[in-house]
């Protein structure tokens, strides 16, 4: 049933299927909660506060249990060490984005972000993760130096304008 509710939300159901799912969604308390929960997760992923929905109280509890799925790249770290972890794009709201060069090819790809966060909260819904503001480290700059990849960042102004000849 939850699959149908999910599909309904995504507009994937038509006609009778949709009708069935719609009536089902309000049919009992469990399904109603699922309906709310899915919406809340969707809202959270879009960076909106789920609180604006009038939700049954236990939805927040369920959200707390489930929401880690929206931040799949967060890694559980040993306590007592503060780390920067890769965070999924869904949780970007908070941190300095680090551009990331595409390997040997050197394409700036939309990517990983370095987020600093305290680890005793390593697994928590994104909406309530405490992000410690820290200056972003640009992994790209070090990667470019390590791999000697051409990068716009490296084309600093120079005064020498003698022609270079590659033969």
């Amino acid at each position: 049933m939850t699959q149908e509710i999910s599909a309904l939300m995504d507009g994937e159901l038509e006609g009778r299927e949709a009708e069935a799912a719609l009536s089902a969604c309000c049919g009992d308390e469990d399904r109603k909660r699922t309906w709310y929960l899915y919406h809340a997760i969707g809202e959270a992923m879009r960076g909106q506060a789920p609180a604006r929905l009038a939700m049954p109280a236990n939805v927040f509890e369920k959200l707390r249990q489930q929401a880690t799925v929206v931040a799949p790249r967060m890694r559980l770290r040993p306590a007592a060490v503060t780390r920067v972890a890769l965070a999924a794009a869904a949780s970007v709201a908070t941190v300095g984005v680090v551009g990331w060069l595409g390997s040997q090819g050197g394409n700036p790809a939309p990517v990983p972000v370095v987020a600093s966060k305290t680890t005793d909260q390593a697994i928590q819904p994104v909406s309530s993760t405490t992000i410690v503001p820290a200056p972003a480290l640009s992994v790209q700059e070090y990667l470019v130096a390590h791999r000697q990849i051409p990068s716009p960042d490296l084309y600093r102004p120079v005064t020498n304008t003698a022609p270079a000849v590659a033969r």
Binding site: R83, A109, L137, P163
Partner: protein
């Protein structure tokens, strides 16, 4: 216990080492795995080829055109990025001319740690075999060629497993895969189109961008920096198999002074250690990220910030970062 080192001392590998015996690229396939590995290494340098390869590393994919010609023992290569911002690298042996047409700039550099697939090796096969158990795998049909897998299993957990598919006729590596600590594939190079020499036109390894810009700006500083200096830093406890390739001071964006960079390699995997002032706002926490084979770990150390970046597991990067100190 610290060991004293001389800048050009015996513990270093000079790039010249990789230019060892320049023969055998077209010889009959050897019977042993090490022979295959050495032949693959030689073929990347000595044979001529043209193709397009796809590089997948973590979430990132890039497509690159490579044309390589060996003429009288000199390597001539042209590399062009087919995705993203346009650039090309024209390489003659270790001299690199990086054309960046949007910035009208040519950056002169010397190959220190750049990997140009299918040239992935930094040390002779026998040295690589100290860190990896080298075996022969199955035959496979790739891009119309027959290739033999060379399987490199790490002898410890300090590095990743790799597999290379070596074309049986020339030895050239046509596909490479790197596997994470749980056996999952994290990086792949694969030709999508490949023409094996020897008939590669000379014009195909020359710049095609050069004529498109009237007045190029030349940045020769990277080449100066690549000559290397004694940075005064060292890694006291290197993971087994890793040796220092070189050390230098590199200019990185947004920093008033060059950053010290020490480069280490086990012959396949490499890592860089960067040491720079921990400028305000001072970083007080450790940072790490992993994507594909690219591992990044930064650690404040007194007034300095130590950053390790390389194709190694995170634990290896952490181990190295914890062991950086002043050279006595």
């Amino acid at each position: 216990m610290r060991k004293r080192r001389v800048l050009a001392g015996g513990r270093r590998w000079l790039p010249a080492l990789v230019l060892g015996a320049a023969c055998g690229a077209y010889a009959a396939p050897p019977s042993d795995a090490l022979g295959w590995l050495q032949r693959a290494m030689d073929a990347a340098r000595d044979s001529s080829y043209a193709g397009v390869f796809v590089h997948t590393n973590g979430d990132r994919i890039s497509t690159v055109r490579v044309t390589h010609l060996n003429s009288n023992g000199d390597e001539h290569e042209r590399i062009e990025a087919l995705d993203g911002p346009r650039y090309e690298i024209v390489r003659r042996n270790d001299e690199m001319f990086c054309y960046y047409p949007d910035a009208k700039t040519i950056r002169l550099d010397r190959r220190v740690n750049a990997r140009f697939f299918p040239s992935l090796f930094r040390a002779p096969a026998a040295v690589i075999a100290q860190s990896y158990d080298v075996k022969l795998g199955s035959l496979e049909h790739v891009l119309g060629y027959e290739c033999r897998w060379i399987v490199l299993e790490p002898r410890d957990s300090e590095r990743f497993a790799q597999r290379l598919c070596s074309e049986t006729g020339t030895g050239l590596v046509v596909r490479e895969k790197t596997f994470g600590l749980h056996g999952q594939m994290i990086e792949q190079y694969t030709f999508a189109d490949l023409k094996l020499g020897p008939h590669i036109p000379r014009r195909d390894v020359k710049s095609i961008f050069e004529a498109r810009v009237k007045q190029w700006i030349t940045d020769a500083k990277p080449r100066e920096e690549a000559k290397g200096v004694d940075t005064g830093w060292e890694v006291e406890k290197l993971p087994a198999g890793f040796r220092e390739v070189t050390e230098l001071r590199r200019t990185l964006p947004g920093r008033p002074h060059p950053v010290s960079q020490l480069i280490f390699s086990d012959g396949l995997a490499s890592l860089s250690v960067f040491v720079e002032p921990n400028a305000a706002p001072t970083r007080t926490t450790e940072s790490s990220s992993e994507d594909g084979t690219t591992t990044f770990f930064a650690r404040p150390m007194g007034d300095e910030l130590v950053t390790v970046l390389g194709e190694v597991p995170l634990a290896t990067a952490e181990e190295v970062a914890a062991s950086v100190g002043h050279r006595p």
